[in-house]
Symmetry: C3
């Protein structure tokens, strides 16, 4: 089955995936003994998501193909559908796809007959990232209902934020947003970071996407850090039980101070760790067509 | 043994390879249990051929190394022979090589002591592509003798065309060529596409290689499509039993109309599928030194 | 355990690693049965070292991840530590790292809790290359004590030279250096190549690193070849038992004449072969935390 958009999954299904991921964390073994091949098709640069999915597949005893869009027929003008159909014809067992276009998968669904796992579409969805965030929150608080989170940064360009806001609200969390005026989108609950920071359970920072922003970051970096960056002073305002999250990669000294990255409240590297367990669960669910 | 050029193989040997490929299609199992490593050395961009060979090796239970010529010692000026010899010294079991130079393998033969599988040399040979074309034709018609094919497009720059014309004639097929004046080569049987299209069993289209052609494609794309592109009207002229082939990647709207790619007569994606079976056969033959 | 710098290893430990490599050469089998994953992180181009480590891991029954720094989050400004920590969090079993910065590993040691194998740091260390050189010498002469070697070329920019000079002196070898004035460094035993060539057991050539040198190589190539290149005439001056080594990739016609590369005295491709055995030993030692 496809894993494209968390909207397609009920709360119960999401809980099942998280439980399966937790089981993998606790040592559950599934071994496809090299009989399954997972093809990772990344049409946009990625370290974390790409190699996390790759590791998840390897730990399940799958083989992997890693497609480098920089050195390929895409330069020969091939469409996304034609490339993806080609991999289906190779007989691969599942596809992990990242692509710059929002909801790229709409052009594939119904025409591709093997499971597709969405590893990020444009500024739209990033289901595996969202699920690993949820797993990290669940491990910390044991529940979602009633939790308060502030997501800080460039909401507009963040598929992580878009995916998380929707699913967290469905799970009964209260989601606040903080960030520069220029990245604001309609319909969200905007707050001043310094007014909410002592009231939330989770501060989730977003990466400042230098490569998308053409503004001179020379001065705005400092301004951004002052206005929205999580530094020690702000960490000291947080509740004793609250935690810090970031989808990474992060910019030290921009959205997060260097000495906050691995501070006691930070779950940033734990998120990375959970990412592999979540992706093992997703690949397993996709291959078994069952959740 | 090496698989470099179909001229080196008798018709009987070619039939044996096709039969072996068909057996793999029908479920034949060969499992090298991770004891064999296949190194894919691609000095020219490729999606289809590269990942098809990779998949074939994985399905045979081999491990693979995928060498990216974009990020390597080649930038340090190393010769092809020296790179290939290096991989031999690593102890790999077979090499799959694509290189821009025609008959690059002549500088390797007799000096490299492990099997080399030619994945395409310049505008010269592309044996695995030709064999998958033949397999597709055989599955369709059960024979080669007496079949008529028209190959349409840029013959001059096409290793697929060069390889197919020779081997198809050896197999008793009649090969017609159609395409722009500028790509004509001596010694072929040139015809007007619209005069032959209702008489052939196979229409094989070649990709318009934008990246090789410096002419302004802005206007020639339309002209090309009008003169040589396979559109619905031309498909309607074809015999009821005839089929459409293309080595891919294809340019929708140039050599093939969008709605023809997956029409009933098209075997384009079936060719891709057959490619993995043919390459399983070739790797097996190369490793076993036996055909 | 980490394999970062040969200074960290006693002569006895170095001998043990070489013996283990020799055992792998003689058919010793270790099979991790796919349970171990080795992640190769190359932040600088490499063919030889990268694919040699990869092959070594595959031959040990490990799975591998091959990280391409050209297509990654590094473009998003991530620090080396953050990338490496991320792979640790993925749960990989060991990291093979090449990086342009001298002693990059100092920023990792004590913070990363899985074995790191240094595949080359800037102009500093290249322990696996040095060990394969030592293995090749040991196979030839059965000892190190009393052997004389001349290392020829750009010592200044060569991590191979820096690593070899130190360890060879510890092993009781006499190390002479020859090369252009501009690449001289303090503290070495400089000699004229033509005065020492008939007295040494090993002539080790270094690659002229075109990509690092901005001088016009049009004329200096010829001058370099004349002054320091190993040609047939110089080979004829060498002792009957002496051998030629080069870490490769080599520039034919620059530091080595075309017809010398595979002459009887050359051990250049044997070095490549030994590289895989040495790296099997290193990965095994790193994973077992035992030497």
């Amino acid at each position: 089955m496809n894993i494209l958009n968390l909207d397609d999954f009920s709360v119960e299904q999401i809980e099942k995936i998280l439980n399966l991921a937790e089981e993998f964390k606790n040592g559950k073994k599934v071994d496809y003994e090299g009989k399954k091949v997972i093809s990772n098709l990344f049409f946009e640069p990625s370290t974390r998501t790409h190699y996390s999915f790759d590791m998840a597949a390897l730990r399940l005893g799958c083989k992997t193909q890693n497609f480098d869009s920089g050195n390929s027929s895409l330069k020969k003008g091939e469409s996304l559908y034609d490339t993806v159909k080609t991999f289906e014809m190779f007989g691969t067992d599942a596809l992990v796809i990242r692509h710059v276009e929002n909801e790229y998968y709409n052009q594939l669904v119904g025409k591709i007959n093997i499971p597709i796992l969405n590893a990020g579409d444009g500024t739209g969805n990033h289901p595996s990232q969202s699920l690993l965030d949820l797993l990290t929150i669940k491990q910390e608080f044991g529940k979602f209902e009633g939790l308060k989170i502030v997501i800080v940064g460039d909401i507009k360009h963040s598929r992580v934020a878009h995916t998380n806001i929707k699913v967290m609200q469905r799970l009964g969390m209260t989601v606040y947003i903080s960030g520069p005026e220029e990245y604001k989108e309609e319909g969200y609950n905007y707050v001043e970071l310094d007014e909410i920071i002592d009231k939330v359970d989770i501060v989730m920072l977003l990466r400042v996407q230098h490569e998308r922003h053409s503004t001179s970051m020379q001065e705005t970096v400092e301004e951004y850090h002052k206005a929205y960056g999580l530094n020690k002073q702000r960490v000291d305002q947080m509740k004793p039980t609250s935690i810090i999250m970031h989808p990474a990669p992060f910019n030290r000294g921009v959205e997060i101070a260097d000495d906050v990255v691995e501070c006691e409240k930070s779950r940033i590297f734990k998120q990375v760790q959970n990412g592999v367990y979540v992706r093992m669960a997703l690949i397993h669910v996709a291959l078994e067509e069952n959740i």
